[in-house]
């Protein structure tokens, strides 16, 4: 039973949380400018890296707030948690930390 540090409530057991998938995937600015394949990239495709991964969590059985976390997918260790609007922290990441513009994911 892992502890997850909710940015608002502090450390709580993982059963209080729900997982929200990869972070920093913005809803495309204009979905109708995307062809089906680009749209499918947004809807269905996510990264699955080995190592630090930015993902979203929600403290469902607590404050009900969503937040971002950087988690190592090898050890499951939470490296850091940060706000939904915030950029992915670069100091713990192995990948370039350039923030993605809205809609950009769909064409990557």
């Amino acid at each position: 039973m892992q502890l997850i540090a909710c940015p608002w409530c502090g450390e709580r057991e993982e059963i209080e949380f729900h997982y929200g998938g990869e972070a920093h995937i913005a809803y495309p600015e204009d979905p109708y400018a995307l062809d089906d394949e680009q749209w499918a990239q947004y809807v269905f495709f996510r990264d699955n890296p080995k190592g630090p991964f930015a993902e979203r969590w929600v403290h469902s059985a607590g404050c009900r707030r969503w937040f971002n976390a950087l988690r190592d997918t090898v050890t499951h260790e939470f490296l850091t948690v940060y706000g939904i609007g915030a950029e992915r922290p670069s100091h713990t990441s192995t990948a370039p930390a350039a923030p993605r513009a809205k809609g950009q994911e769909a064409s990557r």
Partner: protein
């Protein structure tokens, strides 16, 4: 009363008190402080059970949790299967029998209580032996919050089973002194009879405390029998000791063959002499104290067989003084005896070749192949292990950030080393959490001469040609032998994990404590590789068997899962309703009258709703209050249709989709005020939809000024349904103009119902004229009863979820999650009308134009009428095109999602998802059922009142 094998002046059992017990039908006695195993041995009982596969007599090999053989079934006072006799504390009236591997669950319900405790600490110390006590004391004196758990009834660990001196006095004096100090510290908690069995993430350690097992029938009923401790520790020190390892030789499994250290424990902790004449077979120094102490207590040591060529002089001297002969460079090659060992066969074993054998009579054969640190929990914590070739064992590698091992668990085997290592571990642990450990004065053990190296020996070659390893047992519980291991490697297996699964070694209750490392050694020899490279089996929780009852704790029966009931629940119970579980909710399913079958009840309830008036408890409907200036914007983005244009006082039906365009929920939305909406969700979906809405609001559109609140339980919701519902409502809501023009379909009014402020919506989930009466939950029962009374002259009938389902299915109102499966769009449900063409975008819209969504062979919702009107199709039944079932793979066209008997239609009917369903209307398809196929006609899904003529009454 005296038993023949008690040594006077030894042990910590209370000889002034006698306990009676029965084993395999024979009555015996023992004393408080005994285990069942020690009491049996004190009575001269060595044969405990026969082995599971070969039926070979087996005895007691060890004195603790590592025991592979002596499994027993407790019959009284409470039946319990599969316990090791070495860990069962003796109590008066115990009735047990030996087990051949498999126990039998009790058929009686377990009336004992089990519970759970949560605890937090700076430092958790596991094991109250010399190292663990030193760790605890050093940490506790610094003011840290410390929990010490220990599996034995009393602290001391290995000190209880030895005659070692500290400061010239028996070690127990030091133990008592330390424990007395710890007991006086408020931040120290000592839990005896408590076994840590699992190490999980972030310092969570689970431990099992046996609170009243040792009291037998005298256990007070109000005290929980066992308790699971969930301990969150910032730092953990495993001072779990070490397990002695046997050596494999022919017929090494007979009763009377025992680990040397365990025999020493039986003497010193229990005052038990495990035999009269012993042969001691060792590969290291540790068996000598056992031999000497047993000799001093009166056991004749026929010989010490030391596999090493060189025996340290001080051991030789001590043996000479007692007339014990040592045969250096010898091994035991086999044994004789059936229910008890009678002779050990020994032979010189120089450089891999056995010399001439000779038999030595004995009734006890003590074996020591060295010691394996107890690393199960350290390993569970993902600590790495390192092979130490000097002792032939795996020891903890680097300490982890929050977990470390101390004492013999860390590969330190001298008493002074264990004490120092314990203090060191405390300091390191405290330093890791920025605290400083205290210096403590350590007691000085009696000086020991330098230890001589161990001869690492996994097995002795079999002296009998053609019998190589067949009678050399590795895992005694699984009856797995050296030849089984060799068969595994012969079959090409190279990993000990694979060998474990092939041979089942290490999979029994003892987790291979006496067999795991030996297996690695034998595999390494067979493959010609280094044990260090081969590694050992990974150890997983639970480290000891734990009863499911203990893990469940209080979460059983009614407390297994939270039960949610509505404010009207007691009334339903009083009326004899049967209930259906919907999520955690208990919902009335139907209200049978005396003598009615379920079918009869439901048909009656349906008839009342369609021809008279009926009402149900709809309070479980999920309700979400949406407030704020941008409330309409948020709803427009999440529903497929337009909500912002809804006028105050009006109601609209809406569907939500995922980004993939698939329907995820539906319900009604009412506009309460300009900046306030109230929406309903499917009962089981309420939490999910609230989370879904929050997800978009918080992560995608945080600029929207909207607040979402769950108000499900604030309201009691009563659908009042049927042609006479208007008459009933008029009686209880005198202020309300119930005329169809004044109060039209899909509108709502605030009014007074039965004297209670109420919100009445004109919506219908049945197709009939219907009202949904909402009142604050506190007043729900008053209003419900008033409606019931007012309705009596119209024959008002209460109905449950089953009738609700029939009524809505007759009208093809889908249940999201029953008639859909996450791959169904609103269009597939025949509800294109609910999808806005005007809105530029909403969640799901873009996906509707994907090629996949345009296919004309998508599954669509249709009605099915079985040609035989009496046949009720099972929900989930598959649908095929032909009356004969073709050869597999059978092309499936879809499946039945809802199926009922209809009073209105006077026949059975179903809803189904069928490929190209809409195009197939009028076709006959087939449903395989009980080995035949049932013909069904595909129809429009709306089977009743297609024109919607009934909704206005």
């Amino acid at each position: 009363m005296n038993t023949p094998f008690r040594a006077p002046g030894h042990g910590h059992v209370d000889r002034d008190t006698t306990l009676s017990f029965t084993f395999d039908g024979t009555a015996y006695t023992g004393h408080p402080g005994d285990t069942l195993a020690s009491a049996l041995l004190a009575n001269g009982v060595h044969h405990v059970a026969d082995s599971i596969k070969h039926g070979r007599p087996r005895g007691v090999l060890a004195a603790g949790a590592e025991e592979p053989n002596a499994l027993v079934q407790i019959e009284a006072p409470f039946p319990e299967p599969m316990l090791t006799a070495t860990t069962v504390e003796l109590y008066d009236g115990l009735v047990a029998r030996g087990l051949s591997g498999q126990g039998r669950l009790s058929s009686e319900p377990d009336t004992a209580r089990y519970d759970t405790m949560h605890a937090h600490c700076d430092l958790l110390v596991v094991g109250a032996g010399p190292a663990g006590l030193a760790t605890t004391l050093a940490a506790a004196r610094s003011g840290a919050r410390v929990i010490l758990v220990d599996e034995l009834p009393q602290p001391g660990g290995s000190l209880l089973g030895s005659q070692e001196l500290l400061e010239g006095a028996p070690a127990k004096a030091w133990v008592d002194e330390v424990v007395a100090e710890l007991d006086g510290l408020a931040d120290v908690r000592i839990l005896q009879r408590t076994t840590a069995f699992g190490h999980y993430d972030d310092g969570l350690v689970l431990a099992l405390e046996k609170r009243t097992d040792h009291l037998g029938a005298a256990a007070p009923p109000h005290v929980s029998r066992q308790r699971i401790w969930r301990i969150r520790a910032r730092q953990v020190v495993y001072a779990t000791g070490a397990y002695e390892r046997p050596v494999a030789f022919d017929d090494n499994d007979r009763p009377g063959i025992m680990l040397a250290g365990s025999a020493r424990t039986y003497l010193n902790r229990f005052g038990v002499l495990p035999g009269e004449q012993a042969v001691v077979f060792t590969t290291n120094d540790s068996a000598y104290p056992a031999a000497l102490e047993l000799a001093d207590a009166g056991v004749r040591i026929a010989a010490v067989i030391d596999a090493r060529e060189e025996v340290p002089e001080h051991w030789r001297t001590a043996c000479d003084e007692r007339g014990i002969g040592i045969r250096a460079g010898h091994v035991v090659t086999g044994t004789s005896g059936i229910e008890r060992v009678t002779r050990a066969h020994v032979a010189p074993f120089g450089h891999g070749d056995l010399g001439e054998r000779q038999g030595i009579d004995c009734d006890l054969l003590l074996v020591s192949g060295g010691w394996n640190p107890a690393v199960a929990l350290f390993s569970q914590a993902r600590g790495t292990l390192r092979y130490d070739a000097g002792i032939g064992a795996f020891v903890p590698g680097e300490a982890l950030r929050t977990v470390r091992a101390a004492g013999s668990a860390d590969g330190t085997f001298t008493l002074s080393g264990c004490l120092a290592d314990g203090v060191d571990a405390a300091w390191q642990a405290l330093s890791a959490i920025s605290r400083t450990g205290q210096m403590i004065a350590l007691p000085t053990p009696a000086p020991l001469p330098e230890a001589a190296p161990t001869r690492v020996l996994w097995r002795v070659p079999s002296p009998q040609e053609g019998l190589d390893g067949v009678l050399q047992f590795v895992d005694l519980q699984r009856d797995a032998t050296v030849s089984d291991v060799l068969r595994a490697t012969g079959a090409g297996l190279r990993s000990v994990e694979h060998v474990k699964r092939y041979t089942t070694i290490g999979t029994a209750h003892d987790q291979g404590r006496t067999s795991g490392v030996m297996t690695s050694g034998i595999v390494a020899e067979a493959l010609g590789v280094d044990v260090a490279d081969l590694g050992t089996m990974r150890l997983r929780p639970p480290a000891v068997p734990v009863a499911f009852a203990a893990l469940a704790g209080r979460n059983r029966g009614e407390l297994f899962d939270p039960v949610r009931v509505t404010a009207l629940h007691p009334w339903h119970v009083e009326q004899g309703a049967l209930f259906e579980d919907v999520g955690q909710w208990k919902r009335p399913w139907y209200y049978p009258r005396p003598g009615e079958t379920m079918d009869e009840s439901v048909l009656r309830e349906c008839r009342a709703a369609r021809t008279g008036v009926a009402m149900m408890d709809g309070s479980t409907l999920g309700k979400i209050n949406v407030q704020g200036p941008d409330a309409g914007v948020l709803l427009d983005r999440l529903y497929t249709n337009l909500m912002s244009t809804l006028k105050v006082g009006r109601v609209r039906y809406g569907v939500m989709c995922g980004v993939d365009g698939m329907a995820i929920d539906d319900g009604t939305v009412i506009r309460v005020a300009e900046q306030e909406f109230l929406l309903t969700t499917t009962t089981g979906n309420a939490a999910k939809i609230l989370e879904w809405m929050e997800e978009w609001l918080q992560t995608e559109w945080p600029d929207l000024r909207v607040h979402l609140t769950s108000v499900t339980e604030h309201w009691v919701t009563i659908p009042l349904v049927g042609p006479r519902s208007r008459d009933v409502l008029a009686l209880v809501a005198p202020d309300l103009d119930v005329d169809n023009d004044a109060f039209p379909f899909m509108s709502w009014k605030d009014t007074t119902v039965a004297g209670v402020a109420a919100r009445v919506c004109r919506i219908s989930f049945s197709g009939e004229l219907a009202y949904e009466i909402n009142v604050p939950a506190w007043y729900g029962i008053t209003v419900w009863k008033a409606l019931y009374t007012a309705g009596s002259e119209f024959g008002l009938t209460t109905y449950g979820t089953e009738t609700m389902h029939v009524l809505r299915a007759e009208k093809a109102y889908p249940i999201i999650g029953q008639d859909t499966d996450g791959t169904i769009t609103p269009q597939d449900l025949g509800m294109s009308w609910v999808v806005s063409k005007k809105k530029p975008d909403f969640v799901g819209k873009r996906s509707f134009t994907r090629a996949e969504n345009q296919r004309d062979d998508r599954k669509q919702l249709v009605g099915l009428l079985p040609v035989d009107e009496r046949v009720l199709l099972p929900e989930g039944a598959q649908i095929i095109a032909t009356s004969d079932i073709p050869a597999p793979p059978v092309p499936m066209l879809g499946h039945v999602t809802s199926s009922y008997r209809s009073d209105a239609l006077q026949r059975t009917f179903a809803l189904a998802l069928v490929r190209s369903g809409t195009r197939r209307i009028g076709e006959t398809l087939y449903v395989p059922l009980d080995g035949r196929t049932v013909p069904v006609t595909v129809t429009d899904p709306v089977l009743f009142d297609k024109e919607g003529a009934r909704r206005d009454g």
